[in-house]
């Protein structure tokens, strides 16, 4: 795998031809059916959800939608979900639990949307609920960060048994730009912040946050969507096979422990 800086990876994941879930879903799942709505308020196009087959196994797919062009991005709000998006995700996860389907979350977001309506409908509550409910969801959950893992908006789909990241994906508590503007009152210094924050897949593996790095084609996923989709597919088939075999109570204990042990302090 290549040794790139966080900043160079940021350039790669921002490439206009970077594949998105609109490329991956048809390539990885057969007979995918999209399900709409949170049954409470509406349907958020920033998150696609539905069911399909991964190889022979029925799975539930929950995916954040980066657009491939401006029109797609307008529709999916640049992949910044509202509360109803997170609530749709939870509804489909609960449905998966009921019918013993593994859940596959594809994470790719700058963050949860920040706006008046999002606040009114409880963005904080919606994310919190997902964190709590996914922790005890009685079916395997696998999350893959495809490009951008933006803070709580990403974590709401990433309380899982295994977290994988594409080689160039970044996952951070705050956007590099946001960090720069807090640290130095200067958002244009995002490149510096990028390195300080330690947000690459390799960094996150060291911290015990990322369990698996999925290799990208040399130069980035945009250079071969097919190879990239194959690599993710291969990982998912293996992970679903492994996790599906496990006793569910053992799996849940492991999931809790995976997050429980993260932290660095002295006493």
């Amino acid at each position: 795998m290549s040794k790139l800086t966080a900043c160079e990876r940021l350039e790669i994941i921002r490439h206009k031809d970077r594949p998105t879930v609109n490329d991956y879903i048809p390539a990885m799942f057969t007979r995918f059916m999209e399900f709409h709505g949170d049954r409470l308020y509406g349907d958020d196009a920033a998150i696609i959800g539905g069911i399909g087959y991964l190889s022979e196994t029925p799975v539930t797919v929950i995916a954040q939608v980066k657009g491939r062009n401006l029109d797609e991005n307008k529709k999916s709000n640049f992949s910044m979900p509202h509360p109803e998006g997170y609530r749709k995700a939870l509804r489909l996860a609960k449905q998966a639990e009921k019918f013993h389907r593994p859940v596959i979350c594809l994470v790719d977001t700058p963050g949860a949307f920040c706006g008046i309506e999002a606040e009114k409908r409880g963005q904080g509550e919606a994310i919190a609920k997902n964190l709590a409910e996914f922790m005890t969801l009685r079916t395997p959950v696998i999350s893959v960060v495809l490009g951008e893992g933006g803070s709580g908006g990403a974590l709401a789909l990433a309380v899982c048994d295994e977290l994988a990241m594409l080689e160039n994906a970044l996952y951070s508590v705050i956007s590099p730009r946001g960090a720069a503007s807090i640290l130095w009152k200067d958002g244009t210094r995002e490149k510096e912040a990028c390195e300080v924050l330690k947000i690459t897949a390799e960094n996150l593996s060291d911290f015990g946050v990322c369990d698996k790095i999925i290799p990208e084609p040399e130069g980035g996923a945009h250079l071969s969507k097919e190879i990239m989709a194959d690599n993710i597919y291969e990982y998912l088939v293996d992970a679903v096979y492994r996790l599906n075999k496990m006793d569910i109570d053992t799996l849940l204990q492991q999931r809790y422990h995976k997050f429980r042990k993260i932290g660095m302090f002295a006493e």
Binding site: K120, A128, L131, G263, F265
Partner: protein
């Protein structure tokens, strides 16, 4: 003035309020600043002594100002009943963030606590519970490893001992200086809350000024009962961030406790002087036994 009377007065004044007035009296009044309190909501200036006598509630607009953990503890728990957990726990520097240790050391000295939360066991009017108090004076009570670990342990202890948890929340959100580790504390704390809940535990959240960001988006929003102090700030996204997104000014009461209640995210707004009693009543109605005589 008796507490109840005081709050009647505060309450009566709730009606007429909140034009934001620029404070012009800095030049006119030559009083040392530490003698005065200027309300960040309505810019009303009063003597500190009067302000403290009113439990740090602005008599003009009813804003419930930020307390230190010690002030909160004294107002809330039975005298001498608090037994602190994990007193010595302190932060390391997981991502090697520049000058983070220095900042922590300096604050520890200034604020007199190792990190932004105190947890422990206590009684409130005779009812035993696990309590957590966040203190915004310590790095805006942002959540890093120490806050996350203390909360997780507090809930695990409460689950084991079948105790209710009362959590006074205040926070600017996740602690950027601990990078991804701080984000993971959201999952960790929410998980611990969920296990406590699944075991039948009662969890009361009390949202105080300000409860925002990653704390709102994790354990703070997961209470069985969610209380809030009047006029405090509660939200997910920062006001400035939203204003930058929508490019217009937000109404003054946006993200206030009252706004959140209207939107359906707060059960009750409780004035500071009544909080102790309210909490104990909630513990009582859930069937927890009263110990000793209480107070």
């Amino acid at each position: 003035m008796a507490l109840e009377d005081l709050f009647k007065v505060v309450k009566e004044r709730f009606g007429a309020e909140q034009q934001v007035q620029p404070v012009t009296d800095e030049k006119e009044v030559e009083i040392p600043q530490d003698l005065l309190f200027k309300c960040p909501r309505c810019s009303n200036v009063i003597y500190n002594e009067e302000f403290i006598g009113a439990l740090k509630v602005c008599p003009k607009c009813g804003y419930h100002a930020r307390l230190t953990w010690k002030e909160r503890l004294d107002l809330t728990v039975d005298k001498g009943s608090f037994r602190e957990f994990d007193e010595g726990m302190h932060s390391l520097n997981p991502i090697g963030f520049p000058k983070y240790e220095d900042k922590i050391d300096k604050l520890s000295e200034q604020v007199g606590m190792n990190d932004a939360i105190k947890t422990g066991e206590c009684t409130i009017r005779g009812y035993r519970c696990v309590i957590g108090i966040m203190d915004s004076h310590f790095m805006m009570a942002s959540m890093g490893s120490v806050v996350g670990e203390k909360i997780a342990r507090a809930f695990e202890y409460a689950t084991e001992k079948k105790l209710p948890v009362v959590m006074f929340t205040a926070s600017g959100g996740a602690r950027m200086q601990e990078g991804i580790i701080s984000l993971m504390q959201m999952a960790k704390t929410s998980g611990a809350v969920k296990l406590h809940s699944d075991a039948g535990g009662l969890y009361i959240t009390v949202m105080t000024d300000p409860t925002t960001g990653g704390v709102t988006a994790s354990f703070a929003s997961l209470g069985d009962v969610i209380l809030a102090e009047p006029k405090v700030l509660i939200g997910f996204a920062g006001r400035r961030v939203i204003q930058d997104t929508i490019r217009q000014r937000l109404p003054d009461d946006f993200q206030s406790a009252e706004f959140l209640q209207e939107c359906g995210f707060v059960d009750m707004i409780v004035e500071r002087g009544m909080m102790r009693k309210r909490i104990s009543n909630i513990l009582k109605i859930h069937g927890f036994p009263k110990e000793g005589t209480g107070r």
